[in-house]
Symmetry: C2
C-alpha cells in the first residue's frame, strides 16, 4: 500500500518513532511511505521554538537508518496541513489520536473534489511514564524526555547544588 | 496482530465484505481476527427487520469460505455495542467511517479502566454506483442491491407490465 504520514517531528520522540514504524508496517515491504515534514515557515505557528528543517530532516534520516527500513520512502516538505494529500493517489493516512481530525478533514476535502477517500489508521496512544501523552510541547517544557521519562527537576537541582 | 471487527451484516453487502477483508489483511497470516456478530435481541434495535442470527452467521461463513481466508478467525456474538472489546487483549479495531465513533468510545472506556488503548483502522468508504454509501438500510429500502447497483424500479415495473 502507499501510505502517508506527517508531522514536525521536533524533537523526534517515541510517539513519532512508533507512528513512522507503523506506517512502514502498514505499507508492507512492497509499499510506499511518504513522510511529510513541515517547512520552517509552516512549523513556525507552534507555541514553542522549532529546530530548522535541515536539523529535523537529519534526525528523521538517522532514525530511518537506525531502523533499517526498506528503501520505499520519500520525504515531502509540508507547507500546510495537507501537503499533497488532497490530490495524490494513495491508500491510507497513518495518524495519531491528536491528528485524526486532520485526516478526517482530508477525506472530506477529497470527497468534495470527487476524489476517492483513503483509509485512516490511528495508532495507539504512546504514553509517557506518568501515564500522560508524550508530546513535543511537554518535552519543550522540560516535563519529560523524548522517551517519555519524567524529568525530576528537584533531584537535578539538588544534585547540582551538591556539585557546587 | 489480533484485530476485532463487528456488525449485524444483514445483508452482507460489499461494504461489509471489504471491511472483513481488510481485517484479515491488517491481521496478517499469523494474526487473529475476531468477528463480532450482533445477537438477534441486540440487532432488534434497527429501524428495519433483521434476519435471524443463524442465517446471518451462515452468510458470513459462506463468505469466509469463498474468500478462502486463513483459519485465524472466530465469531463472537455481540449482545451490546462493545462485546469483549473493553477488556480483551488485542491490537486494533477495524471500522467503517460510520462506526468510528464507537471505536473512539471503546478506547475512552478502556482508558478509564486503565487498559491500553488500541489502534483504530478506518477503511475507505465503499460507495454504491450512485456515489452514495452502500448501507443495509438502503438495501432494505430497495434502492440498491448488495453490490451497490442501483435498482431501477421504473424499468422493472415497465418490464413487469410488458410481461402481462
Amino acid at each position: 500500500m502507499k501510505v502517508m504520514v506527517g508531522g514536525t517531528f521536533d524533537p523526534l520522540h517515541d510517539g513519532h518513532r512508533f507512528l513512522i514504524s507503523r506506517a512502514f508496517d502498514i505499507a508492507g515491504p512492497d509499499g510506499k511511505v511518504i513522510i511529510g515534514l513541515t517547512s520552517d515557515a509552516f512549523a513556525d505557528r507552534k507555541s514553542h521554538p522549532i529546530h530548522p528543517y535541515k536539523d529535523r530532516e537529519a534526525d528523521l534520516l538517522a532514525f530511518l537508518k537506525e531502523k533499517n527500513v526498506p528503501p520505499i520512502w520519500m520525504i515531502e516538505e509540508l507547507h500546510d496541513r495537507f501537503g499533497s494529500t488532497l490530490d495524490a493517489d494513495f491508500d491510507a493516512l497513518i495518524v495519531s489520536e491528536e491528528t485524526f481530525p486532520v485526516a478526517k478533514e482530508i477525506n472530506q476535502l477529497r470527497r468534495n473534489k470527487k476524489r476517492p477517500c483513503v483509509e485512516i489508521h490511528q495508532i495507539r496512544c504512546v504514553l509517557a511514564e506518568d501515564g500522560k501523552w508524550i508530546s513535543s510541547t511537554r518535552i519543550w517544557r522540560g516535563e519529560i524526555d523524548v522517551h517519555g521519562h519524567v524529568i525530576d527537576h528537584q533531584s537535578q537541582a539538588s544534585t547540582k547544588s551538591d556539585d557546587v
